[in-house]
């Protein structure tokens, strides 16, 4: 048991903090850790960062100071000076105004343009309206207060989806017919060579159904993306790094900046993992993503806070 736990933690160590992404010719690829990025070949493309699951308001073992670990993650990101950052949801723990305030102040202090999608913890009050008003202000909402939208940066089409509204008994994440119809229309005008980055909180592939780690209509959404040559799907929710490539679609989940969760099915429940003293920062992190022209995959670097 101890051995298994050590192996799990060491494995997670390279997947934990945040993601720095490079879009290279439209396809993402993994370069390594943020901490080891100096050793990797610099990616001459557009690079942006991903953070996730900051859970401001959570204050239990193993993390009683989630603002501090968010700040550490943001410092890691800021040191890379990316022009843009994505937050893939669960900004707050209980959708409370003061939790939104704390997160907004810490993230805003970086000065980095940040785009958000909601997690289910951000959607607890008034059908998500406070979250949309606070964190998606200025976006062109796909439906009134729908929590989903798209935008273009550096020739990349970014699509922020909301799969945390109207969750049903026993179900997975939900997109809903209105969002799927919007996605179809949004993609219809794009050429197949446009690099697509989809970001949403709950994974858009079924990681582990027993824990609800997946999205009900992900097959329908992915069918709409099938004709595109480069599709990168960035998610959070599961507080660990997992990657999968399926055809032209690369899936990646980011670490939490707050606390780790167990690998699928390795624990009785997906509750916060308790970690040895001093080890928490090995399992939290950020990611960076770069687009490199002429390459077919985005480069993704996950960096633990402790790196």
């Amino acid at each position: 048991m101890d051995t298994d736990r050590r192996n799990l933690l060491s494995c997670m160590a390279w997947v934990g903090t945040g993601l720095l992404w490079t879009v290279s010719g439209g396809v993402p690829r993994t370069l390594g850790l943020l901490g080891t990025a100096a050793a990797a070949t610099p990616a001459p493309g557009f690079t942006f960062a991903q953070i996730s699951d900051s859970h401001i308001g959570f204050s239990h073992d193993p993390n009683t100071d989630t603002p501090a670990t968010l700040k550490e993650a943001l410092d890691k990101v800021a040191a890379q000076r990316p022009p843009m950052m994505l937050h893939t949801g669960d900004v707050s723990h209980l959708s409370k105004p003061e939790q939104f305030d704390t997160a907004a102040q810490l993230i805003g202090a970086t000065g980095i343009e940040t785009h958000y999608v909601p997690g289910e913890h951000d959607w607890l009050d008034d059908n998500g309206r406070p979250f949309v008003a606070r964190f998606q202000r200025g976006t062109k909402q796909g439906a009134p207060d729908g929590g989903f939208y798209s935008f273009d940066v550096q020739g990349i089409h970014f699509i922020g989806l909301n799969n945390v509204a109207n969750l049903q008994l026993g179900g997975l994440g939900m997109l809903g017919p209105a969002q799927l119809a919007w996605l179809r229309a949004d993609l219809a005008a794009r050429g197949a060579s446009t690099p697509i980055v989809v970001f949403a909180h709950i994974p858009l592939w079924t990681v582990y159904r027993d824990w609800g780690w997946g999205t009900e209509e992900s097959a329908a959404a992915l069918a709409l993306l099938k004709r595109f040559g480069s599709v990168t799907v960035l998610n959070g929710h599961i507080h660990q790094v997992l990657q999968k490539v399926e055809g032209h679609v690369a899936f990646h989940t980011a670490r939490s900046t707050a606390f780790p969760q167990p690998a699928p099915g390795t624990a009785p429940s997906p509750g916060p993992m308790h970690v040895e003293p001093g080890k928490l920062r090995d399992v939290l992190g950020v990611a960076s993503v770069s687009l490199v022209r002429g390459q077919s995959h985005l480069a993704i670097i996950d960096t633990p806070l402790g790196a």
Binding site: H60, D61, H93, L94, S95, E120, H121, L124, L167, Q168, L169, G170, G171, L172, D210, W211, G212, P268, S269, P270, G271, P272
Partner: protein, 109 residues
């Protein structure tokens, strides 16, 4: 569908106890541990006040599966409780809106 009378949080429940005891024939408990409602199926007599207690480190909710929901709690942080009086017979499925794989049923006789 029956609409049980919801009461939120321990403080509210205490404040409403005189009313609650007038309506409720008794109380029954559901605990939340390890992302599980226990017991998963609870059978009670009409008029029973069911009290859920979250003993996890993680926040949960209690929400009726009926649409519109017949009852729903505020988010329950560690140690928080939620109570609802079930005054009509039937089977009432519920789940946690944060973790929808967490499911339970109240059977009212």
């Amino acid at each position: 569908m029956s609409a049980p009378f919801p009461r939120r949080r321990a403080t509210l429940l205490l404040a409403l106890l005189p009313i609650s005891s007038a309506l409720a024939v008794g109380t029954a408990a559901v605990t939340i541990d390890n992302f599980t409602f226990s017991p998963a199926v609870l059978t009670v007599a009409r008029g029973t006040s069911v009290v859920w207690t979250n003993r996890d480190d993680m926040a949960h909710t209690v929400i009726s599966a009926a649409r519109p929901p017949a009852f729903r709690s505020q988010p329950l942080d560690t140690g928080d409780t939620f109570a609802a009086v079930f005054d009509r017979p039937g089977r009432f499925s519920y789940f946690c809106s944060l973790h929808p794989h967490m499911q339970g049923t109240i059977v009212v006789q």
